[in-house]
């Protein structure tokens, strides 16, 4: 069992305190709201996608440090990427935090997002880390709402 304290690395704490890409894009091409009914976390994600590339992305909302840092790092990681790559990252991130993919070899697109790998041992927090990614998935699919339930 992972010590939960190991989750709270400096990068995560720092992104929680000063989240990047915080705010709302208007106009935007894609939008979704994410909600984790279990803990009340909520997230509003707006994107501008042009020519199949994520030109800009911002998020707003409130949640725990794992959720906010995940959103902050995610938005930074997908900005400027082709949508297909962002979608592949969603799969890799989900696979990693569910313990299905090994971050050492199977999640090449994630980079420093592998920081969240420890979440897999704490099932109660997996949903917190996934919420921004589930919301991104919904936004890219043209759905208005994502829920981790």
């Amino acid at each position: 069992m992972t010590d939960p304290r190991e989750l709270y690395q400096q990068v995560i704490l720092e992104h929680n305190k000063k989240p990047r890409n915080f705010g709302k894009l208007a106009p935007c091409t894609h939008h979704a709201e994410g909600h984790n009914p279990l803990c009340g976390d909520q997230l509003d994600l707006t994107l501008v996608v042009e020519d199949g590339v994520v030109r800009d992305v911002k998020f707003e909302g409130s949640g725990c440090a794992i959720d906010v840092a995940s959103a902050s790092l995610m938005t930074g990681a997908i900005k400027g990427r082709p949508v297909a790559e962002a979608e592949a990252m969603i799969d890799q991130f989900r696979g990693m935090v569910r313990g299905e993919l090994d971050p050492a070899t199977q999640t090449p697109l994630l980079g420093k997002l592998t920081l969240f790998q420890g979440v897999k041992d704490i099932p109660s927090r997996v949903k917190c880390a996934i919420l921004p990614w589930a919301t991104l998935h919904a936004a890219l699919k043209g759905e208005e709402e994502a829920s981790t339930e």
Partner: protein, 415 residues
């Protein structure tokens, strides 16, 4: 915060009591466990676990069936447990004690029998603002079915019900008032005796959710004049899967049965089935026999410790923890009622309760972080969730110190 008069009370020998709880010697993440989560579920003393194991090893069969000595013996143990509950609640008759799976099932039973029988279109069900979902959702389901309305008794910022509103809220359409005895989030001990008296003055029956009350204070249903009083075994140092509905006999007799099946009938034919008198008519199927016997053993255990001594010990811990936590800058305690049981909810600026819960877990401190199945309470206090520590008779001041230092460490980390 009031404290019971404990003059002349011999304090609990907590170190000896702790020997009865094998779980308390566990280690999490290299730290000895500090179990401050009894409001989620109380720990069972070895005495209770062994009584249940003995039943399963040597006495197991079914109850109210057959003529065997074994079956009669099991029936006697099972009914003796019911009698222990009767005495524990101060009920007039063991026929007023209905076994359920827990508080939730007990409330559903009342909603689906008494509620269906009495609530009509346009009627009102009055609930307090600090109810657990278990005392909200069954009534909402009934209200939806019947076209009735739910009304809410508000509370103030301290987490005390505003009783002045009762005169206006209770109308001639009110068919039931549901109120929690002790709030699982705020710790508030509600003045249920007064609430019941005022409801009765207008002819309204009252259901009291006692899940968080029975582990902490002496309950006497006749003194309260409660119409229904419900609780769960597992919050009272007993097992999960067993709970109690107390109902006044006249009400139980007037209520239709709920689940149909074996054990609840007097006779069955294709033409006509007749039912057992209460409580039998509410107890279809094979009950959780070991759990009922275990709950009886748990009642023996807490009764031997003495609820007045338990209350005194827990009040002292609550006062100590309240003082220590309240002194931490940026920490806010939710629920500052004058009369509180040993439940302490708090939030800290800039730290989500789930992060706090995880960081405390890393220090071996087990607390609840979340909405506590009381989302309207979260909404009322404008928080998504809280961190909640709850104290039992086996907790110590040293454990409160560990909680406080773990909270301070989390705050330092998030600085």
């Amino acid at each position: 915060m009031t404290s019971p008069s404990n003059i002349g009370l011999q304090p609990l020998d907590v170190q000896a009591i702790r020997q009865d709880f094998p779980l308390l010697s566990r280690v999490f993440h290299g730290k000895p466990v500090v179990y401050l989560d009894s409001a989620v579920s109380g720990q069972m003393p070895a005495h209770v676990i062994e009584r249940m194991a003995k039943y399963e090893r040597e006495e197991h069969t079914n109850v109210h069936r057959g003529v065997s000595t074994l079956s009669q013996e099991a029936t006697d143990f099972y009914e003796a447990a019911r009698e222990k509950v009767r005495k524990f609640l101060g009920a007039a008759s063991a026929r007023e004690i209905v076994w359920t799976r827990g508080t939730t099932e007990a409330i559903n039973l009342v909603a689906q029998t008494f509620g269906r029988m009495t609530v009509k279109e346009g009627d009102e069900i009055l609930l307090s603002a600090m109810e657990h979902h278990a005392d909200i959702v069954p009534w909402q389901m009934l209200a939806q079915e019947k076209g009735a309305t739910i009304k809410v008794i508000p509370m103030n910022d301290a987490g005390e019900l505003i009783l002045e509103s009762l005169d206006e809220l209770i109308t001639d359409r009110t068919k039931l008032l549901g109120v929690v005895h002790v709030s699982n989030v705020l710790g508030t001990i509600n003045p249920v005796k007064e609430i019941i008296a005022r409801a009765h003055a207008k002819g309204v029956p009252v259901l009291v959710d006692g899940a968080q009350a029975v582990p902490h204070l002496k309950v006497d249903v006749q003194d309260l004049d409660a119409d229904f009083y419900v609780f769960s075994g597992h919050k009272l140092s007993g097992p999960t899967g067993i709970g109690v509905l107390y109902g006044k006999l006249a009400l139980l007799e007037a209520m239709p049965p709920w689940h149909g099946g074996g054990s609840m009938i007097r006779s069955v034919s294709w033409e006509k089935t007749t039912y057992l008198p209460a409580p039998g008519k509410f107890e279809a199927g094979t009950p959780p026999i070991a759990a009922a016997i275990g709950l009886g053993a748990a009642i023996d255990y807490v009764t031997a410790l003495g609820l007045d001594r338990i209350a005194a010990h827990e009040h002292e811990l609550l006062a100590y923890a309240t003082e220590k936590l309240a002194a931490i800058p940026g920490l806010r305690i939710l629920g500052t009622a004058r009369d509180k049981a040993s439940v302490l909810s708090f939030v800290v600026d800039g730290i989500h309760p789930h992060d706090m819960g995880s960081l405390l877990d890393g220090e071996g401190v087990v607390v609840r972080a979340g909405h506590h199945c009381a989302q309207p309470v979260m909404t009322r206090f404008h928080v998504p969730a809280t961190t909640r520590a709850s104290f039992a008779y086996f907790n110590t001041r040293e454990e409160v110190d560990i909680l406080v230092s773990a909270v301070l460490k989390a705050i330092e980390l998030f600085k």
